[in-house]
């Protein structure tokens, strides 16, 4: 009985029922499968985060984004530049209270080195409806190589609470054929 001391004083020498041993074995093996699945995906899967990141000053990051935006701006929407950088290049996206800046226009099936960083508090990068979610920190320039394989207009929702304007922090991203 679980609320009184065990009947066998030396409980660690007790014999174990077969069903229990079987389940422990199955559950253990399943744990191994799940563990190795993550490693396997690093080799065989296409969706892995690079974990590449640099400690960076927000001002430095903002400058790079600014330079990119000036060079590759194609138009403006809601006062925000729409930027079409060349495939393969380094593209910068600023997260700040309460805006994603600028609007990126990428080409389908082309790879980009996407840099993400916050200028202030933490934010959440949530590309929708792809449902691709990343955590954005201040002072960390997060880099990943992304290859959008669907064309269209995508929303970038902030999904880390960042103060009273959190629910207005919506950005946009275009992927052109």
């Amino acid at each position: 009985m679980a609320v009184v001391p065990p009947t066998e004083r030396i409980w660690w020498k007790e014999r174990i029922a077969k069903v229990e041993i079987m389940w422990v074995a199955i559950a253990f093996l399943w744990g191994l499968v799940m563990f190795f699945m993550m490693i396997y995906w690093h080799g065989a899967g296409k969706q892995n985060i690079s974990n590449e990141a640099y400690r960076t000053d927000p001002a430095v990051f903002a400058q790079k984004a600014q330079a990119m935006a000036e060079q590759y701006k194609v138009r403006e929407e809601a006062g925000i530049p729409v930027v079409h950088p060349p495939p393969g290049s380094d593209v910068y996206l600023i997260a700040r209270l309460w805006q994603w800046w600028p609007i990126l226009e990428l080409e389908k099936d082309k790879a980009y080195r996407l840099h993400l960083m916050s200028m202030d508090w933490q934010h959440g990068f949530s590309a929708q409806p792809v449902n691709l979610n990343l955590q954005i920190h201040p002072n960390y320039d997060m880099v990943l190589t992304v290859t959008p394989d669907q064309a269209g207009e995508f929303g970038i929702i902030c999904n880390e609470y960042c103060g009273i304007g959190h629910h207005t922090m919506v950005g946009r991203l275009y992927v052109k054929e």
């Binding site: 679980a2 001391p5 066998e8 422990v24 899967g45 969706q47 974990n51 880390e160 629910h167």
Partner: protein
């Protein structure tokens, strides 16, 4: 001190009950229930605000209510109740006096003060930072101070528990090893010490920072250590509610665990493989290596998950064995059909077990997988998952054992027995709905901690799919049901404690102990085997379905 201790003898168990321990259990349980009521109220407001057709609160109040909800239920309700469990599992189950009751009262006092202070800080409006208070977002100093005081109080409670184990051993109040339930509580208390130490390491500097004495706290470092507290405390909850499952199965059905060795080893796995479980809160964070993420998110190869999967079999297995021992032997499930479903302690416990496994457990492992986290992180899938663990699992288990604590410790009969009977079902349906619909909305991309899924005030627009709005409507309805279940619980508890008839020897439950099931080889639990097989199949299928979803998003490297 020992001489001043007064005892009564419990008519159900025949154990001596230290009256000081009894009073402490009462005080902690009452405080817990009060904060559950407060926090649950905020939860209802949040749920109704997230229902797009209702959208109850304005934005600032929504974020404030969400902060208060997280703090009051996740931290205050659960930890007060855990203190009651620690004192019950030590002094009462070991037939012993409580070590240092004055210390225990000091701890209790600190916890009350801390909880009140943090609530004041939140209600003043300057500390709407969510219970996670991620830096560099800053709360008022007394927000952090309140949490620290509360944690120190809880730490004292843990040491009173350890002290009581020592006293009981020295005074030989029991024979042999400590009972399994006490062993589970010991697991919880050991992890709690680690938890609170991590909390101190991160919250004390954060307090100094909010007072202007420290200039900078790194946001990534904060999260890593904060979740060393935040996640381990969930392991405390799991240990505590699994101990509660065993206790209820034992007290209501006389069930004896299939094997002490297996069950105890499963508890030990929680301690040994705790690792830095904060990892699974950091899977899509910049600048942390995949090796670190994989090793720690799986707590070194899922060995703590193994512990839970073991309990998930041994708890129903012990119930089945006990019921079969009584002759409920027909077919696979007569033992389950004829279980005491009208006893809220049993029904609450069993529903907690099922929902914790199927909803909270499976979703937790899935979203804690390094790459799969990309399609779930910070969406509503996250609160969906943990309403399956801390609400359907822990909270419901604690509610269930309350129905035993009231007669055994408060020595009152339950009032409104019909309402008590229905309570676990109403609450379960509500919470299952909350969990599943939030998980559904999260799968469709809806953000957590978010006031307006229509983005009406945003400069750029985005539309979530229609189905997501439907999910949030159903979630709102579930919130009402869950709140109703919560109100029923509180009505029964308050009513019984204040107005319940005094228990008599006849009205108390009788312990119907089953000494043994025979030898290990003769234990037959085919019904449990079927249940476990269904669980395992669901787990494997759902796990791989999510890899398929992941493979459909944009390639990343």
């Amino acid at each position: 001190m020992a001489t001043a201790t007064q005892f009564r003898t419990c008519p159900t168990t025949g154990l001596r009950v230290d009256l000081k321990a009894e009073n402490l259990i009462k005080a902690n349980a009452v405080a817990a229930v009060i904060f559950l009521a407060v926090g649950g109220f905020f939860g209802l407001l949040v749920g109704l605000t997230r229902w797009p057709a209702v959208h109850l609160l304005p934005a600032d109040w929504f974020y404030l209510a969400l902060t208060a909800h997280g703090l009051d239920v996740l931290i205050v309700w659960i930890i007060f109740f855990e203190m009651a469990i620690l004192y019950f599992a030590s002094a009462i189950l070991l037939n012993s006096r409580l070590a240092g009751p004055r210390w225990a009262w000091l701890g209790f006092g600190l916890m009350v003060v801390g909880a009140v202070v943090v609530n004041i800080a939140v209600l003043q409006g300057g500390s709407t930072v969510m219970f996670t208070s991620y830096v560099p977002m800053k709360a008022a100093p007394h927000f952090y101070l309140g949490i620290i005081l509360f944690a120190v109080g809880a730490l004292i409670g843990c040491f009173v528990f350890f002290g009581t184990l020592v006293v009981a051993k020295e005074e030989r109040t029991y024979q042999g090893s400590i009972p399994l339930v006490t062993f589970g509580a010991l697991t919880a208390a050991i992890i709690a010490v680690f938890t609170i130490a991590s909390g101190a390491i991160i919250l004390i500097p954060t307090l100094l920072w909010s007072m202007g004495l420290i200039s900078h706290i790194d946001s990534l470092m904060y999260k890593t250590i904060w979740w060393a507290m935040g996640h381990s405390s969930q392991q405390v909850n799991v240990s505590a509610h699994v101990a509660v499952w065993y206790a209820i199965a034992a007290i209501v059905l006389g069930a004896r665990t299939l094997s002490e060795k297996v069950s105890r080893t499963a508890f030990l796995l929680y301690i040994l493989f705790l690792q830095l479980a904060s990892a699974h809160h950091l899977l899509v964070e910049p600048g942390i290596s995949s090796e670190w993420k994989i090793f720690n998110t799986s707590y070194a190869m899922y060995l703590a998950v193994l512990g839970s999967m073991i309990h998930g079999m041994t708890v129903p297995g012990s119930i089945e064995a006990a019921q079969r021992h009584r002759g409920l032997n027909r077919g696979l499930f007569e033992w389950l059909r004829k279980a005491p479903w009208g006893n809220p302690a049993f029904s609450g416990m069993f529903l907690s077990l099922i929902m914790f496994g199927f909803i909270g457990g499976i979703s937790g492992v899935v979203m804690g997988t390094e790459q799969l986290n990309i399609i779930m992180h910070n969406t509503l899938y996250t609160p969906g998952h943990f309403h399956g663990t801390v609400v359907a699992g822990t909270t419901l288990a604690f509610m269930a054992i309350t129905y035993l604590i009231i007669p055994l410790i408060f020595r009152r009969e339950l009032v409104m027995k019909k309402i008590a009977q229905w309570q676990p079902y109403v609450f379960s349906i509500g919470v299952a709905g909350l969990s599943l619909f939030m998980m559904g909305a999260g799968t469709l991309g809806v953000s957590r901690r978010h006031w307006d899924m229509t983005f009406a005030d945003a400069a750029l627009k985005f539309d979530y799919p229609e189905a997501a709005f439907l999910m949030m409507g159903l979630n709102g309805l579930s919130a009402i049901l869950a709140a109703l279940g919560g109100i029923m619980y509180i009505a029964v508890v308050v009513g019984s404690v204040l107005f319940g008839k005094r228990t008599t020897e006849q009205s108390l439950p009788k312990l119907n102990v089953i000494a043994s099931y025979g030898s290990a080889d003769s234990v037959k639990v085919p019904g449990t085997v079927v249940m476990v097989a269904v669980f395992f199949t669901a787990f494997v299928l759902y796990y791989f379905i999510n890899w398929k979803y992941l493979s459909e998003i944009w390639p990343l490297s």
